[in-house]
Symmetry: D2
Subunit: 156 residues, 4 copies
């Protein structure tokens, strides 16, 4: 493959990732419920953020683990679909490292560790605005196959 062709392929992959993730995000009702916003996307990668509100807290007054996990899970799902293949989360483990508080803006970054056959593994890290790690996840997705957006819609 020539350098020009390689560059064109990378640009296409980037455009497809962006296109599919934005479409997927737009149909994610939970994202709207929690005020989750989609951030930068690349093949195998996606980020998402939310602002912690008072209604998202636990009795300790900090962001409920269920909310910070939901943000991570959302970013995981956006990263999963960047190859325009149907995929679903199967297993996930989460470690809570530091509390977040109302007013904090949390950002989740999901990145592919491996993807082969019908399995893919992603690392997801949620940080606050100061860069402190709030939680880390490792998620396993099952690649069902089948396009999310029809290939003809994705042509330049």
């Amino acid at each position: 493959m020539t350098e020009t062709a390689a560059k064109a392929g990378a640009e296409t992959a980037m455009a497809v990732a962006e296109r599919v993730a934005r479409d997927f995000f737009a149909r994610d009702s939970m994202a709207a419920l929690l005020g989750i916003e989609l951030g930068p996307v690349a093949p195998g990668r996606a980020s998402a953020s939310l602002r912690v509100t008072d209604s998202m807290t636990n009795p300790h007054g900090t962001c409920h683990g269920g909310i910070s996990f939901a943000l991570a899970d959302a970013a995981f799902s956006y990263a999963c679909v960047t190859w325009n293949e149907q995929a679903v989360g199967q297993h996930c483990n989460v470690s809570y490292l530091a509390p977040a508080r109302p007013g904090d803006i949390l950002t989740a970054k999901a990145a592919e560790v491996t993807r082969s056959g019908r399995n893919a593994i992603y690392d997801i890290t949620v940080t606050d605005a100061a860069g402190r790690v709030v939680l880390t996840c490792r998620g396993v997705a099952f690649i069902k196959g089948g396009a999310i957006l029809p290939p003809e819609e994705l042509e330049p």
Copy 2:
């Protein structure tokens, strides 16, 4: 210990579990946000339920994993505090086994596997109204110690 004393002790433990979990639940803002209700409680055990709404779905039209996990995480936290000791969730693994849909009522049951020193492990299972298992979790809590409700408030 006589049989009468043992029975009285068990009754007290049950009353404390109920009292502390209800107090903790009442201060859980995320529970209110998602419409989570507290179910039966016992020492080391708690259940909670929610009705899946359209606003809780993912782009597949099924209940978002972030929501069903949040329910499990809530039940986990209520079970953790039943001994009237401060505790926080540290790690959790979740496996998604079946989808849930808008209108479904999901119930999470959390039960202690082990509790010794500063660590406790809980299994949490989320089922739909038909008894189908939607997800299973295993959570690790760190026992910080210190009472949640002052012991004098818990006296019969």
Copy 3:
């Protein structure tokens, strides 16, 4: 189904589980290396044990987590095959709860939590002779399908 037929079916399932697990165990070279012995087996369940030797320790002088996990993983694999279907472990999480020491006899009990489609989940608990829990695991197996022993070999 009559009660007699149900009883006959249960007896057959038990005999198949026993037969397949023993055959599988006999071909498990790691079990021989570590001195693992197969214990009671039932459909979806298996146990295995080993005696901790000095050569199995870590620098703390206690049984290395790699060894106690290997025992759990072996019991997991024996439980997986009790339905006479090819299966492989895909994911596993382990929590170390108490140390074991040279001379201790550890027993791992694996029990099916769910099995549907191509996925099965097992809980595995390793205890010492005093019944103290040394570690707990939760393992996910992928059911490849295909018989392990030819059905005609399993006929009564």
Copy 4:
């Protein structure tokens, strides 16, 4: 801090990591049992390798998951002690991605993800000689504190 001081500090940290990990490895009986060798070490990082033998296989004829996990667990423990602080593995998740076979040389690389307070998280990846990922782990260690080697022994 001057650039010279920073460079000297980094050199010291590297020497301490190397020294403590080699001492720890030398007292690891399981490593000797399985033929595990210690590879490169740095602060928060360690690698270890082993050659898969026929006696390490499962009934599928591939390297038993218990063995490849034991290698990962060993590398995890060497990385944990590189700061010359007592630490023990508490929880670990493993995903098996590809089989290994007798004759394969497996290498585990453990790298710190976070370390704060009494908790540290490590990623461990096991690859074969061709660079194919055989398994990935994420481990949680509890930092007990207390030196492994007396500080005076570590002075240049």
